[in-house]
Amino acid sequence: MDRDHTRAPDLADMLGGETPDATAEDAPSFLSFERCGRSFAVDAHVVEAIVKTPPVTSIPYPPPSVAGVAPVRGRVRIVICPANEPDTPSARLVLLSGDGQLALAADRVAGIVADPANADTLNPEDLIAG
């Protein structure tokens, strides 16, 4: 994939310095995480932050992958479960940047990797559109 990224984001920044797996800034560019026993990866450059999951409010007639909405840092985020198991509570939310106000439900954040070969790579645009 052709990318014009000069610096990969630091996982420690995303987590407020809480978790260790931060790697050198020149190599990786995917955030890897687990959800419902599966591994997923998302372009690290579209990740705004990782937070503890606040209370999630259900919405009427949700698309299959949408767990609901949750207030995070003053904004309302649409919470998406990439494993399509929206009723299973998650430990963390991976907040995505941009005006989509999307968040990915995650059970465990594995770290930032260069090659997401063993994970399903997610395109945030496709997640909500189904």
Partner: protein, 671 residues
């Protein structure tokens, strides 16, 4: 910044520029006396120029090309190389409309080839405007001007043109010499230019010697004005300067044309900054979040104070301080929300051109009258209501106003009248579209409604119901039903209402009532299926308690797709369980044998929603759920509730529509 951010920034800026084009063209169209106002014409030129620039930066060559052609035309007009004809302004408005459509197409990701074709259309339109315009005017040879030739040679082409235009208009031209203190000259100089701009026109300014005092800086200003010379002498005299009349004409000046209105636009000194709407919303949310935190903190502090036995005087002070902070946040919120408001007059220019063009095409004579241009509404509302307004105006010209012959035969003035009015009504705004045309055939609407299976006693407002505006009904109601359901849908989605009054032969009035803003809203909170939901109080008719046994019988007797039929105040009302509407199969709760309900006005009728609990009313800040909100059915936003929770603001018509759709789909699948 990635490509999408760049494109979004372009669309934002380009939309602003097109809005400026429209509002300035409207000012020009209203003030044709004495020619086009040069300051406003300059602004129009600059907007087109800036549009070309931002399109180039964002890599949108089609818009860049179209704006460039428009800019060239405007430059020739402001320089006097092309003299505008009677249709030039209207044509410029059409160009601005086209540019607006191109930008919307870019925002929607439309096919580049199609947008290129739109640019071709703009180019053709500009060429057409050029061919309809006159050539350059003849210079005023009879005027004599006492101005040092060296100074005149420093004039730009534009300044020279403006000097000539003022001489042609026989407006007295002055050379003013004035000096200001070096430390504050910018303020004094700007103030003087504003004053002169309001009284006439500043043609040019040049630095000049400030006299012997090195702490002063001098200016020479060439200005034209019809103000009496004594006023100019007095104005400059108070600044310690001199004014000399430098224009002379062979004969005395008779009846000078009226001066430009002093709207502060004489010299561009506005201090403003572009702020992303999302950033303003973030500040509103932050303010509301802090207010809720303060309320929570105050409650905890009060509990603690009571526990430790704080004296009542100190406890009172504590509460007062907490309330003061809450009031401060509330004021902050209101001011931030006001930043989202823009004058509704933004859509009037387009409306005027639409009515003018349609009237000409259809052979109608129409006097189009507007008022309330300054009434302010949330920008998001103004953006979305412009098409419904255009729709009502199209109907008014096409089907309301009769042909001049028909009007004369009906002993009416051959010229029809269409009004577009905006007026504040409490915390809402009424937009009124009124015509004095043929009126709507109410009987025909009822027959059309019946044909669609609606009750026979439906009022004229059935015209807004989906289905009445089908092709079969169009002929009978003279087309007045076409698309009115779409108008009503937009109004409802904005939390507004629409009503119509009509009288055969006298005319029709549509009244759209809208909230001022989509961000700050009075909502009523209800509980259903374990969740907390908010309903815009302006949509609520009343709160009611129905007998639980009676409701249960009604639920058993009628299917849920179109609501269960209950009798309420002597009328049949459709009742929906809110829990069902939000997709929950949780059983309804009732206490003391009653079911709590709210009635909500939808289209022309009330529907009742049964809920588990009526919580209460509050002022709320409505948060958007972002770009993908349309994917979520029946949700218009979210509001913060104490304890870090949120309540969904419901779009009741959207919920009912989705409920029916799923019910029908399930039925179809089952059969």
């Amino acid at each position: 910044m990635d490509e999408r951010d760049l494109l979004r920034q372009f669309v934002d800026e380009a939309e602003d520029l097109v809005e400026s084009l429209h509002s300035d063209l409207l000012i020009l169209s209203r003030d044709p006396v004495g020619g086009l106002r040069p300051d406003v014409l300059n602004r129009v030129f600059r907007s087109a120029h800036s549009l070309k620039g931002v399109a180039g930066m964002a890599g949108v060559p089609s818009v860049q090309r179209a704006a460039h052609k428009f800019e060239d035309l405007l430059d020739d007009v402001r320089m006097g190389r092309v003299r505008p004809g009677p249709t030039t302004l209207d044509g410029c408005g059409r160009v601005a409309d086209e540019l607006g459509r191109m930008i919307a197409a870019v925002a929607d990701g439309a096919d580049a080839a199609a947008i290129e074709r739109d640019a071709d259309a703009v180019e053709s339109l500009v060429a057409e405007l050029r061919s309809g315009a006159a050539g350059a005017p003849e210079a005023a040879t009879e005027a004599v001007i006492d101005l040092d030739e060296k100074i005149r040679r420093t004039f730009t082409e534009y300044e020279e043109h403006r000097l000539q235009e003022n001489l042609n208009a026989r407006r007295p031209v002055y050379e003013l010499r004035v000096a200001f203190d070096l430390m504050s000259f910018d303020v004094g100089f700007r103030g003087l230019l504003e004053r002169l701009g309001a009284a006439g026109e500043v043609i040019g300014t040049l630095p000049a010697a400030g006299g012997d005092d090195p702490s002063r800086i001098g200016f020479r200003i060439i200005a034209a004005t019809n103000e009496p010379q004594e006023s100019i002498d007095s104005l400059i005299g108070t600044l310690g300067g001199t004014a000399s009349l430098i224009s002379h004409y062979p004969e005395p000046i008779v009846e000078p044309p009226p001066e430009f209105p002093a709207d502060g636009a004489g010299a561009s000194t506005a201090v403003s900054v572009r702020v992303d709407m999302g950033a303003v919303d973030d500040l509103v949310y932050l303010s509301r979040g802090l207010a809720l935190d303060v309320a929570g903190l105050a409650a905890s502090a009060e509990e603690l104070a009571v526990q430790v036995g704080m004296p009542s005087r100190e406890l009172f002070d504590l509460k007062q301080r907490a309330r003061s902070i809450e009031r401060g946040f509330s004021d902050l919120e209101e001011r931030l929300v006001e930043m989202r408001l823009v004058p509704i007059g933004q859509v009037y220019g387009r409306a005027r051109r639409l009515v003018g063009r349609l009237a000409a095409e259809l052979g109608r004579e129409v006097d189009f009258v507007t008022s309330g241009e300054d009434v302010r509404l949330d920008k998001a509302i103004v953006d979305r209501i412009s098409e419904p307004i255009a729709h009502l105006l199209r109907n008014a010209v096409d089907h309301g106003i009769e042909s001049p012959d028909v009007r004369r035969a009906a002993e009416k003035s051959a010229t029809g009248r269409i009004e577009l009015i905006a007026e504040p009504r409490g915390n809402r705004v009424a937009l009124i579209v009124r015509d004095d045309g043929a009126g709507i055939d109410v009987g025909a609407v009822r027959r059309a409604a019946n044909a669609q299976g609606l009750a026979a006693d439906e009022s004229i407002e059935a015209i807004f119901a989906p289905g009445v505006s089908t092709a079969g009904a169009v002929t009978e109601v003279s087309g007045r039903g076409v698309g009115l359901d779409a108008v009503a849908a937009v109004v409802a989605a904005l939390g507004g209402t629409i009503a119509v009054e009509t009288e055969r032969g006298k005319g029709t009035t549509f009244v759209i009532l809208l909230p001022t803003t989509l961000v700050m809203l009075s909502v009523f909170l209800v509980e259903a299926a374990g969740g907390l939901y908010a309903i815009d109080v302006n949509q609520i008719g009343e709160l009611a308690s129905l007998d639980a046994t009676y409701v249960e019988r009604a639920v058993q007797a009628t299917p849920a797709d179109c609501g269960h039929v209950v009798e309420w105040r002597g009328e049949s009302v459709r009742l929906y369980r809110l829990a069902e509407l939000v997709g929950s199969d949780a059983p309804s709760k009732s206490s003391s044998g009653v079911v709590q309900c709210v009635t909500v006005r939808i289209w022309d009728r009330d529907v009742a929603l049964s809920v588990d609990r009526l919580v209460g009313e509050r002022e709320a800040i409505v948060k958007t759920v972002g770009r993908y909100m349309p994917v979520l059915k029946g949700v218009n936003g979210a509001i913060d509730i104490e304890g870090g929770r949120i309540a969904l603001l419901l779009d009741i018509p959207g919920l009912i529509a989705e409920h029916r759709r799923l019910w029908t789909a399930a039925g179809a699948g089952g059969s």
